[in-house]
Amino acid sequence: MNGLKRILEEVNQHRLSAGGAISDKAMRALRTYRTRLFATFLVFFVLLVCVVGFGAFGLAWFFKQPAQQAAFAGAMGISVGGALELMRRIWSQWSQAGLLLVLIEDASEAQVATLIDKVIQKL
């Protein structure tokens, strides 16, 4: 399930607590989620750099062995491609959460509740 959707659904669950405010809960949850996404992105980025570095070394190492080189290039293509796609998704979620935060910051409780409902429906 979409991480952002899950976060917003969890916020919605506490809508009828006899205290607190939905905007406050949403902002806390979204900020935590963004921090987590950012940390995950950094980890993936470091891994990607390592894989690319290792790949470049491998390609140079197997310079005179085309079969090995092809296998190495193939493995790199899959892993780097996969990592890039994951990073793109993380970045996209991070941006969406950021946009929601901007909208929620200066919105009334009714607007926040409506916004969350609509975003959950669309995601």
Binding site: Q13, A18, S108, T114
Partner: protein
């Protein structure tokens, strides 16, 4: 110091005060004016769509999670002979604490959070800036510095620019709006804690700090900001001082404050009354369905099993937690509660 444990009680010793809408008419009437239900005050020009949305909220959310569990509680409590008062006001609290040794109050607590809705229109930043310039408290200085850093308040000519670390400058660069700055001030540790106080370090729970800071903010921006730390009863929002004053002077029983983060109110009342009675309190938000089920079991255990109220309260909570754990699969608390209440 310990208080003597309250003796056993019968049904006529208990008063149950409920300060939330319990039928459709009350719900619709309160959506526009209640702090708790303001999230359902949907704006827009299409009145029919608004009514439909509100009716859906009533049927799909409010009835199963609030109204129905409380109706069950009321029926059971009345059946056992307990005094039940709906649409509770400060007057109900005064009357109940005058005549009953055990008073249970379920209501919404407007916490210390600062919301956009709390700004009193028309919102003029300049007025907020002027207030902090007029004050010389550590909170006002912190706010003035944050206002300047966020770019919507120029420093007055006689005011030296505040020294800020790289980290605090970066943080304030991210904070843009007035509400965000006010919100951030609730959580800033050690604002009032200077070396000149002779105190090395103060340990304070973040809920307590936020509540205390909110009181200071309300005082600073009186008239510009709707105050926080209020108990919502059917006659409006009340400060903790008003609630304490409404408790009968000779009350010496148990006051069960089943409201969110009632520790703030309970601490205040207990200190003012010098711990003359026991206050059941909660440090976190309360789910109405959980509260209703828990109170129903508590009243049954008190009246039918003859347990002292406080023992019954603890036992009821444990039983409820155990029952929820046994329901199993759904991981979400609300889903488990719903499933359990249906079985």
């Amino acid at each position: 110091m310990s208080l003597p444990r309250p003796a056993k009680a019968d049904a006529s010793d208990i008063a149950l005060l409920l300060a939330i809408p319990l039928d459709e008419r009350e719900f619709f009437a309160h959506v526009g004016k209640s702090d708790w239900l303001q999230q359902y005050a949907i704006e827009g020009s299409d009145a029919t769509a608004r009514q439909e949305r509100l009716r859906a909220v009533w049927t799909d959310e409010y009835v199963p999670l609030v109204a129905e569990p409380f109706r069950e509680l009321i029926d059971r409590a009345l059946g056992l002979g307990t005094d039940v008062r709906t649409q509770a006001t400060l007057g109900s609290l005064r009357e109940a604490t005058t005549h009953k040794p055990i008073v249970i109050l379920f209501a919404h607590w407007k916490g210390p959070e600062i919301l956009y809705d709390d700004l009193v229109p028309p919102v003029e930043r300049e007025k907020f800036v002027a207030r902090v310039r007029e004050s010389d408290t550590p909170l006002a200085r912190w706010l003035a510095s944050s206002f300047r850093a966020s770019g919507f308040a120029q420093a007055s000519p006689d005011q030296a620019p505040a020294k800020r670390s790289f980290w605090s400058s970066w943080r304030s660069y991210r904070i843009q709006s007035l509400v965000e700055i006010l919100r951030a001030s609730l959580g800033v540790a050690s604002l009032e804690n200077s070396a000149t106080d002779g105190i090395e370090e103060v340990f304070e729970h973040e809920v307590t700090r936020a509540a205390r800071r909110r009181d200071a903010i309300d005082l600073l921006f009186r008239g510009l900001l709707r105050p926080g730390n209020r108990l919502e009863l059917f006659d409006g929002l009340h400060a903790k001082e008003e609630v304490e004053a409404a408790v009968a002077p000779l009350f010496q029983g148990v006051l069960d404050l089943t409201t969110c983060t009632s520790t703030i109110l309970a601490d205040f009342i207990a200190a003012r009354r010098q711990l003359r009675f026991r206050v059941v309190q909660f440090p976190t938000a309360q789910q109405p369905i959980w509260a209703a089920k828990s109170l129903k079991s508590t009243i049954e255990l008190t009246v039918q099993a003859g347990l002292p109220y406080l023992d019954a309260r603890i036992l009821a909570r444990r039983e409820l937690e155990q029952a929820l754990a046994e329901v199993g699969p759904p991981k979400r608390f609300i889903d488990r509660l719903k499933l359990w209440s249906e079985t």
